[in-house]
Symmetry: D2
Amino acid sequence: MTAHSSPARPVLLGQNQYGKAENRVVRITRDGTTHHIKDLNVSVALSGDMDDVHYSGSNANVLPTDTTKNTVFAFAKEHGIESAEQFGIHLARHFVTSQEPIHRARIRIEEYAWERVEGTGADGEEIKHSFVRQGQETRLTQITFDGERWEVVSGLKDLVVLNSTNSEFWGYVKDKYTTLKETHDRILATEVSARWRFGWTDGEQPAPDWNESYEQTKRHMLRAFAETYSLSLQQTLYEMGARIIENRDEIDEVRFSLPNKHHFLVDLEPFGLKNDTADGAVYLAADRPYGLIEATVLRDGSEARIPADLTNL
Amino acid sequence: MTAHSSPARPVLLGQNQYGKAENRVVRITRDGTTHHIKDLNVSVALSGDMDDVHYSGSNANVLPTDTTKNTVFAFAKEHGIESAEQFGIHLARHFVTSQEPIHRARIRIEEYAWERVEGTGADGEEIKHSFVRQGQETRLTQITFDGERWEVVSGLKDLVVLNSTNSEFWGYVKDKYTTLKETHDRILATEVSARWRFGWTDGEQPAPDWNESYEQTKRHMLRAFAETYSLSLQQTLYEMGARIIENRDEIDEVRFSLPNKHHFLVDLEPFGLKNDTADGAVYLAADRPYGLIEATVLRDGSEARIPADLTNL
Amino acid sequence: MTAHSSPARPVLLGQNQYGKAENRVVRITRDGTTHHIKDLNVSVALSGDMDDVHYSGSNANVLPTDTTKNTVFAFAKEHGIESAEQFGIHLARHFVTSQEPIHRARIRIEEYAWERVEGTGADGEEIKHSFVRQGQETRLTQITFDGERWEVVSGLKDLVVLNSTNSEFWGYVKDKYTTLKETHDRILATEVSARWRFGWTDGEQPAPDWNESYEQTKRHMLRAFAETYSLSLQQTLYEMGARIIENRDEIDEVRFSLPNKHHFLVDLEPFGLKNDTADGAVYLAADRPYGLIEATVLRDGSEARIPADLTNL
Amino acid sequence: MTAHSSPARPVLLGQNQYGKAENRVVRITRDGTTHHIKDLNVSVALSGDMDDVHYSGSNANVLPTDTTKNTVFAFAKEHGIESAEQFGIHLARHFVTSQEPIHRARIRIEEYAWERVEGTGADGEEIKHSFVRQGQETRLTQITFDGERWEVVSGLKDLVVLNSTNSEFWGYVKDKYTTLKETHDRILATEVSARWRFGWTDGEQPAPDWNESYEQTKRHMLRAFAETYSLSLQQTLYEMGARIIENRDEIDEVRFSLPNKHHFLVDLEPFGLKNDTADGAVYLAADRPYGLIEATVLRDGSEARIPADLTNL
């Protein structure tokens, strides 16, 4: 990234991007009376030859953010939404190839999943146009295109998982501020925020099956969480990432941000009650503070490209 | 409710209640290596002979809110959590019968549902201690006890549903501020907030099967949403309530607060595109403002007791 | 409130209301280069002869929620926004008097306060069109009109206050679940949610000065919080309400919902540090659970009309 | 950053960090009956020789996150909180210098500002221990230390500003998806999220006066917002950054993330009303989508080091 000098002052413009954020687009497709739904939140960020608009306010190179919004909705009709990734690729290519001053486009998409509601219509036929939001995780993707190279980083957030045993924590450093007791049987719980980067970068090459990749990646990650006998949340994190790398050839890098959602064993002795984990115990689910464990897991030979910060805390 | 006069001033104390809100209690039970989880957010509100603490600050009649918190956690161990309703009944009875100055207890509970994560342990056995939060609706209950009569109001919130057809809106009043176009095929979507009151009030009588009642009530409500050909959200609301009343004898009253989550058909004509519902269309999912439809549906002969306001807007 | 029987089923319709919620209206007025801003969030709820729309979906009596939205924006231009209360009165009167099937209107308004940003224009004149949101409390009002009688309930939320001394808590009931230690010097902090009801109900009588009333009521409430040597949050609550009743003749009733925002004295002894309140201490500001203290304070001779629940927990 | 190979698998560990997030520490200091308050939310992230904990779960190099929490509270007592920046510096230095495996510490702090509530005590003296939260912006800082070099990035978020005139938008690119009308008088509003990096990196050199720097930086930024006649939000952003660089020698780089909080002029013509900006107009304050303008402004000769993404959308 090069910084550009202002005509009149010793103050430079650095990296900059603009676009319309959080376009909430819903696309229904009808196959007779069977309907399908895609529900996305699409954010556009464009960069390029944008010095003048910052220095003088000249909009001569600026495609309005309102136009980027219109494009999102028009493309949902023109191209459909096969997957969030494919939809983002259409958009990114369009902005970079159709507007000379725009050199780079980044499309971020959140996707909300729906499942069918069962019902029978007045005609006795099964209803196929009624949906309830699943509400579990939010699927994510980010498509970046600079006119030559593609970068696709997908992921998810808000996936809350918990193991009620097979987690220990002991053998750690003790300094003068350490009061924590070691434990050999605790709850391990987290709210998974993950991003994974695809090896696919060349638009001439066949792209992965984005939807299949998402389902399998989520499945491997969940199984790794369940199957790992954990001595630390870091170990579980690494295992979740390693399983993805080992099982999904199309993915080269995974970044996790895992809050340790503490469940404290409640002291019930003052009330004459034993509260042992072995028996099934009662826990206080705490809010703040929380441990926060973040790391990148990489395929050997790959470069780390996902930024370290998925959160702002 | 009687208001009490202050010793020194012409200012009266009216209805009052206090307690510890949002106790986040998680209870694990173990059946060998098969674990079960209950995840609640419990809020306690107590009323009674509490004039002095307001007028003079004397705490002689005040069981500390901290004690009510301890009681929640101790009861989760002592009594277990068979259902949110049953757990609330234990708590309410305890506060009213064990503390002379406390005449009324109200327990509100939110419950978060979990499902199992599949996995295989190192021993080759299926893992039964790993969970992922479902994340769909939040189950609710409110137990009120005044020493004689019970009132149980259960419900849910955050359940987002959508019909992609079979919804019309026309034939309404037009005044000088009306610009809305009539429609014969629109998306109907809402985020259901519902409360239902049980007929059960006498602790000597057998109580409903709370968990079965919840599952069936949710099922009937969803089916009614899917199966109703809707001319207005009010009609759909009434149908959802009527189905519950007709199918669940244990329930006498239902209150709904249904935001009309508007999905606006996007005008794509400027871009040379048709965007007809019959073809499968593209919609903008709007945030604010939104229609808000609220109503009570009652069993004939029952009294309306659920307050009108489930929201503060 | 009467419940109406459905033509075909033993299921009654109870209280119901509908309208457009959360209309975010901003009104600028210009006095030369000096601008003024009013920033409101307006929610409309209408009730009346609405059986048919629930039973059959007939919208013949239904003024669309979209029309109520249009009316909010048109009235902001036609009538201006002198105060949230006055604006709500215009709206409520309009809906009830202009639409025969509408018998009752309730207008809820949130108001966000702004202050000026200092600056000098290119002409050397002080800038009077630049604002920064204050961000402290949110001002509230609710106007209800049934064609004859007015009810105005104003208030605020999100006002966070803290006394770092002059708060004690001791002399309370101890039962088998009590572990709390008594304290003679603690932090008392809360996030005030308050509603106050005006005596004004007759539209023929002169109305209070709504803006002056709001400023003075907030001032008295804050001073009462600061000046009360507190033995319990209930005592402080009562004092806050009593001061309003004593000083503001136009107000007959106040309802508070006061979470006790616990600040726990941290135990630093394991680190060889004393952490005494008398010295200035370090506290952990806790999130959940929290004490929740709610009460009504009334003018002698007045009736309590504000609902008990300002929150849903 | 080097990635390390796992002993057994072709899967590497990349950048990683851990610590306790969101420690809510409140520090009261007493100067006789005059009290002062500091209210922080402190998040610790540590990096270093942490391969083993990821690969095998060995915690031999892991200082528990619980210990980092204890350290935050203990340091608030031992060192006091002169400024968020100074407090973060104490913490970062401690972790890096006291624990051999820890090579880098990053401390992020949010600070909430309070102002005094006026009141008179029973003794007739002015009360100096009662506070109300200001609630405007949240002050931010991030301290990073690797044992040699310091990096301090401060900033703020949630500061909502609005100009009711002196904003135009025209002369932009029109493509086939452009429908936006040009305007020569619009509202310009944004919610400022800003980070600024200090030139101070050498702990041996005297540090800036952090509190004075914050107040002045905020003041210059606000004045620039008010005083700029704006042809685009990009121009206003650049001006806000340039003013900081020009006026605050201690700051070398500023990054902004500015949502364009759209205020749409409402079309009131259907109701026979003119709604001209020149008269004072009525606007709809929209939620989503919104323009999002992000850029870095740099001192000539400085390197851009603040990451591009301050948000996740």
